[in-house]
């Protein structure tokens, strides 16, 4: 929907670029102008955006917790089964034969940490999410091919129908779209 043609509730403005350089410049300017609720959409990861788009990344901590949980689970499970629950006396050798618990402890550490990484990443992304307002824009489909979008949400305190449009327009996007909520 081009500007001024929408009838539904406004989600935000989206500028469409075909050049990552323009997108990064525009995103940086939007950040400097004091906007907080904006997002850059790209067909592949652009590391420069990480420093511009606000957000936190607790994934490494989640994975560490997963790994520690896996190690503890494996060690406690094996020790308890071998010593308390189902002791097997093999020629009088010690029941707490810890060196033989190492391989499974390693495997479960990796397993739990990997599950934490996978589900942690999906959870932080908010997946699965069947629908999102940006999908209302038909042209947005090209973000998974060769287009770069910068979207400023209407609920941002700085958002202003004219000023925001002017700010985005200054970077000469291919098109400036308005995205509806429904």
């Amino acid at each position: 929907m081009r500007l001024g043609q929408g009838k539904g509730l406004l989600y935000g403005y989206a500028a469409e670029f075909d050049d990552p350089t323009q997108l990064v410049d525009a995103t940086r300017a939007v950040r400097q102008a004091g906007y907080e609720r904006f997002e850059a959409y790209t067909p592949y990861p652009i590391r420069e955006l990480d420093e511009i788009v606000p957000g936190w990344n607790p994934l490494a901590a989640i994975v560490l917790i997963g790994g520690i949980a896996g190690a503890l689970t494996a060690w406690i499970m094996q020790s308890w089964i071998a010593v308390v629950d189902f002791p097997i006396n093999v020629g009088g050798r010690p029941l707490y034969s810890w060196p033989s618990f190492v391989p499974i402890t390693f495997e479960l550490t990796v397993l739990f940490a990997s599950l934490a990484a996978f589900f942690g990443a999906l959870g932080l992304c908010g997946f699965p999410l069947p629908h999102h307002p940006v999908f209302n824009l038909k042209e947005f489909a090209r973000v998974s091919e060769d287009r770069f979008f910068l979207c400023i949400e209407a609920r941002d305190s700085q958002f202003n129908l004219q000023k925001t449009a002017q700010l985005l327009d200054a970077f000469e996007p291919l098109e400036l779209w308005e995205i509806e909520k429904e």
Partner: protein, 467 residues
């Protein structure tokens, strides 16, 4: 001039020291996406696909029939008898799981080492890993005798009040292989989500839209998504790297912790890991060479990829050759009669053909890879890879059979003769693998599109590219 035009007009130059670039020919984001998604969405399925699928499906049906008969009659339908109780099933298990290792090496280790050329082959190498591990996992199960109570291998509260023996490498193996299968699947799927979104956005009918829409989970390519996606990929790669080395190490423990001559050796873990990667690269090439030809992907899977894979194959093959040389040396140096007897029977006993075939296929013929022609010419490289893959199966057969059939006491000696069911289950498992792989090629993005986009010129802010 738009970025797409600039990309199409920039000639691809090889990096210093190489003759062929990673992406041959001028591509833009658009042409690249079109080339890879059209295989799934628009282009007609090639005749080659149907023919191979038909043959593989026939083999898979044979597998189902064989396993059904096996479940009905018991493991006695195989040629196994004491003392050779492992034979084909465990040979196939070790062979298949080894094949998987190259996929993880490409997807995880080469990612950590920042090797951009891997981007066009990592997706189908990972798919190969998953299907190979799937085939591998079936063999110990059907070899159990009573596969329907396989879950007794896992610790769980039960009314029998019995638990697994955690000092046994066979129990370690259960954890290692199931962890490996799970982590490989997670890594593969996580990497595929952005590309599934590309398929969703380009699908033209509701069925495809729904299918890829559900699988892509709502991916929008937001910078926040990429941030978590990148972090998770790197962390999973870091976790998968020691994992892949541990899996074949634990597989080798199945052998080396037993006191049997020919198995009881500290060289087994590195020996097995090198052999695994060796056979895995052979399988990668056996899959890549026909696929790049049939689907015209020569611009993305270039000579450079074939050459690099062949070099890695040569390197791991030399490690393997070294262990082949060290094994008889340690047997002789130990002065142990039984150890020396195993070496003797390997070389001249009833199964000596396996020993000489192993040396020929895994050591002598692969030396052809020193020649550039054999590394870059697809037909010759396919031949060498095929020989290696066959040789690696024979090697595992040799390790298992020759060590088992000559026990400490001559009264326990026996021989092993494969039954037709041994062969039909092996051939059938190859059918299962090929069917899965063909379905993957047909319905999922076989080359990682988002990682390939990063390799194009003008993909970085400021006009450069990642590599």
């Amino acid at each position: 001039m738009t970025v797409a035009e600039k990309q199409l007009r920039t000639p691809r130059r090889p990096e210093p020291g190489t003759s062929v670039p990673v992406i041959a020919g001028a591509e833009s984001f658009g042409t690249l996406t079109e080339q890879i998604t059209s295989v799934v969405l628009t282009r007609p399925t090639p005749l080659f696909w149907y023919c191979t699928f038909g043959v593989a499906m026939a083999a898979l049906i044979m597998f189902v029939i064989s396993v059904t008969y096996l479940l009905y009659r018991g493991v006695g339908v195989f040629g196994i008898e004491v003392p050779v109780a492992w034979a084909f099933a465990i040979t196939n298990f070790v062979w298949w799981i080894g094949i998987g290792h190259a996929g993880t090496l490409i997807s995880a280790i080469l990612l950590l080492l920042n090797q951009g050329w891997r981007n066009s082959i990592n997706r189908f190498a990972e798919a190969m890993t998953i299907f190979a591990v799937m085939c591998a996992g079936l063999f110990p199960l059907i070899h159990l005798g009573r596969p329907w109570i396989f879950y007794w291998l896992l610790p769980y509260p039960n009314t029998m009040h019995v638990q697994p023996q955690f000092r046994s490498p066979l129990v370690w193996d259960v954890f290692a292989v199931s962890t490996y299968a799970t982590v490989s699947l997670l890594f593969w799927y996580l990497g595929m989500i952005p590309d599934l979104a590309s398929l969703r956005d380009r699908s033209r009918n509701r069925l495809a839209y729904g299918f890829y829409g559900v699988l892509s989970l709502g991916w929008r390519g937001a910078s926040r998504h990429w941030r978590f996606h990148e972090t998770a990929s790197i962390l999973l790669a870091g976790l998968a790297t020691p994992l892949v080395l541990s899996v074949h190490t634990v597989v080798s423990f199945d052998f080396t912790i037993a006191i049997l001559p020919g198995w009881h050796s500290t060289i087994f873990p590195p020996y097995f890991v090198a052999g695994a990667i060796y056979s895995g690269f052979a399988m990668v090439l056996i899959l890549a060479i026909p696929i790049r030809k049939v689907y015209h992907l020569e611009n993305l899977v270039t000579e450079r990829h074939l050459n690099n894979c062949a070099k890695l194959m040569l390197a791991t093959g030399l490690i393997l050759a070294y262990t082949y040389a060290i094994e008889p040396f340690t047997s002789w140096y130990s002065g142990d009669t039984f150890e020396m007897a195993v070496v003797h029977y390997r070389a001249v006993g009833p199964h000596s053909w396996t020993f000489w075939l192993t040396l020929t296929c895994n050591v002598f013929i692969p030396q052809l890879l020193w020649f550039r022609k054999f590394r870059t010419d697809p037909k010759r490289l396919f031949f060498v890879s095929f020989v290696i893959l066959y040789g690696m199966w024979v090697e595992r057969y040799m390790i298992i059979i020759t060590s088992l059939h000559r026990d400490f006491l001559p009264s326990a000696w026996s021989n092993f003769i494969a039954s037709p069911w041994d062969v039909s289950v092996l051939v059938g498992s190859i059918g299962l693998f090929v069917v899965c792989f063909l379905l993957f090629v047909r319905f999922l993005p076989m080359i990682s599109m988002f990682e390939m986009r990063e390799l194009l010129p003008f993909s970085r802010p400021g006009g450069g590219m990642e590599k």
